[in-house]
């Protein structure tokens, strides 16, 4: 069997023009499919960045909240009520909002502001410079060192700014796991300072962050919160909800899906058409092989091997090209929202397999139909 595969391989790769066209078609299709889905994954990850960075196990919120950025303030008693639920180890408030800073040079800049519970500082970022206790100092803020930090004129410890006629001072520089979606620098401060400095409605608690006593009690906590008219979701559920919102309730998911399908159709068309031409050009040779004594299954194996080899090589090149492009993009744009996940690779792999199966089928169908007698007839 190895000999037959070697013949199939040589027939394929020695036809350099067709092989290059086949590879280009599949590589391009895989590149587009992985790129599209990776961008989408990156956007979804960025959209859930606060959930990822804060890392609380359970989030209590208004049932109408769709994304973490669009919080609906809850009254203070919700936090107390949640604390009283059996199974809650602790529950703390989180402020999530945005504001406009006036920088030292007089420029204005929008920022995201997260207010952490004053007592526990639950969800605090990892400090690169400074001391975490300085957040309690007068006007203290932490700034996140990400691709957006330059918008605050490269702040350092001691940099001051104005926030709603309050003075703010950078007391620490920190980093987080995931960058935000909206291209704004992020500041952390205490909950009480956040609600004091930033104009807000009557209610101020964006989320109540809950630590359950045990995993088994999570469902009970959810049920009790539901009775209060609010909703409690786990970290994973919240991220899934945000993901579902962007996928199905905005045009983003549909557009990405359409682009991925177009990439798939392009790849399918190019490789299917080229492979079909390749088979047609060699049809008389396959007929001759049949006449000589090749069995149908051997010819099928040859064609499936050729289609499979091309598809897998194209897949590898496509993924490599995509990784290279994302890498290059991230060198220029550190906050570039694109993440290659195993799921994306799996989807592209399945689509490439479909391309290979489709190409094989049309080739096999043609080759099985040819009669060796046709070779004699010319």
């Amino acid at each position: 069997m190895k000999g037959i595969l070697k013949i199939a391989f040589k027939l394929l790769v020695n036809d350099k023009g067709k092989f290059a066209a086949l590879l280009m078609g599949i590589t391009f299709a895989v590149f587009l499919m992985v790129m599209m889905t990776s961008i989408f994954s990156g956007v979804l990850r960025s959209a859930s960045s606060v959930v990822i960075n804060i890392g609380a196990k359970i989030w209590v919120m208004d049932p109408a909240v769709t994304t973490v950025a669009n919080s609906i303030p809850m009254p203070d008693f919700v936090q107390d009520a949640v604390r009283s639920i059996n199974g809650v180890k602790f529950a703390v408030p989180l402020y999530s909002g945005s504001a406009t800073l006036r920088l030292a040079n007089g420029a204005y800049q929008s920022v995201s502001i997260l207010g952490l519970d004053d007592t526990s500082l639950l969800g605090r970022p990892e400090l690169l410079e400074g001391n975490i206790t300085d957040i309690f100092a007068e006007n203290g803020f932490l700034v996140i060192k990400d691709s957006e930090i330059n918008k605050l004129n490269n702040p350092h410890i001691g940099t001051t700014f104005e926030l709603n006629e309050h003075r703010g001072v950078i007391v620490g520089i920190a980093k987080v796991a995931a960058n935000g979606l909206f291209g704004m620098p992020t500041l952390y401060t205490t909950y009480n300072r956040a609600i004091q400095y930033i104009p807000s409605a009557r209610f101020t608690t964006s989320y109540v962050l809950v630590e359950p006593k045990s995993v088994e009690l999570v469902q009970h906590i959810k049920d009790e919160v539901k009775k209060m008219g609010y909703v409690a979701v786990t970290n994973e559920e919240f991220r899934e909800n945000i993901s579902t919102y962007y996928k199905y309730k905005t045009g983003l998911g549909t557009n990405i899906l359409i682009m991925t399908l177009i990439s798939f159709i392009v790849g399918l068309s190019i490789s299917g058409q080229t492979f079909y031409t390749f088979i047609l050009e060699n049809l008389d040779k396959f007929g001759a092989l049949k006449a000589i004594g090749a069995k149908s299954r051997e010819l099928i194996i040859m064609i499936v091997f050729q289609a499979g080899f091309t598809a897998l090589t194209g897949y590898g090149l496509g993924v490599g090209l995509c990784t290279l492009m994302i890498g290059l993009a991230k060198m220029r744009l550190p906050n570039y929202a694109s993440v290659v996940t195993f799921g994306n690779l799996g989807i592209a792999f399945i689509m490439v397999l479909i391309i290979a199966i489709f190409s094989s089928l049309i080739g096999v169908r043609k080759v099985l139909k040819i009669e060796p007698f046709d070779v004699f007839r010319g």
Partner: protein, 233 residues
């Protein structure tokens, strides 16, 4: 007495349906022996290619039987028939049907590779047969870089590399000039034919009739005459 290599008995083949139904071969019978070159001759459309296909096990007759060295080939199933062709019959097609993307030696090695022989061993064996046909120095060239006569010899090497006892040539001189055609037939008679091999040639090229031992003439699907030239000689 020469041993019978091929025995065709009352072969009939129809093509088409209804008004377009044509009787391509009409009850053709003949015998060809080992050690002889047997010609099937006749004008285009006389049914010689159809008859050749039925004899070589690639087109099933509607009626009649073909026996090759005591094996009734049309009683074999598809896989058995493919194996029979691979082991017992060598084909030289009119257009040669050499793979342009393989080297000459790889083309010759194909029947051995189909027989699951090791690649390197097959290539070595193919080289030996290329030497027999005088083309060892062309082994690494693709077939399209060879002349028509050289391609014909490569096709012959491919046909004989698995040492079949039946060799089938379809219009072997159709694409060659007169001299090259004669050289090829002379080569077949002197170097390829032996007492354990039967060569069946389909042709309408009268210039090469002198190399035949038997000539069977066909017209409109029917056998009109069988001349035994070796008896005349």
């Amino acid at each position: 007495m020469a041993k019978t290599a091929i025995s065709a008995h009352q072969l009939v083949k129809w093509f088409g349906e209804g008004d377009a139904r044509t009787n391509a071969v009409k009850a053709a019978s003949f015998e060809a022996n080992f050690g002889e070159i047997f010609y099937l001759v006749g004008p285009s459309g006389s049914g010689k290619t159809t008859l050749l296909s039925m004899i070589s096990g690639i087109l099933k007759p509607d009626l009649g039987s073909v026996t090759i060295d005591n094996t009734a080939i049309w009683t074999l199933n598809n896989d058995e028939l493919a194996n029979f062709r691979l082991n017992r019959i060598g084909f030289v097609f009119q257009d040669y049907h050499l793979f342009p993307r393989l080297t000459t030696v790889e083309n010759v090695a194909i029947p051995l590779i189909l027989k699951q022989r090791d690649w390197d061993e097959s290539i070595q064996e193919a080289l030996r047969y290329l030497e027999i046909v005088g083309l060892k120095d062309r082994a690494q060239l693709p077939p399209f870089k060879l002349s028509g006569g050289e391609q014909q010899r490569v096709a012959i090497a491919r046909a004989i590399v698995s040492q079949p006892d039946i060799l089938i040539f379809d219009e072997p001189t159709a694409s060659l000039d007169g001299d090259t055609g004669k050289k090829i037939m002379s080569f077949i008679k002197d170097e390829i034919l032996n007492e354990n091999r039967c060569v069946l040639v389909v042709t309408h090229d009268s210039r090469i009739f002198e190399y035949a031992d038997k000539i069977m003439k066909m017209e409109d699907g029917a056998v009109t005459a069988i001349e035994n030239k070796s008896e005349v000689k």
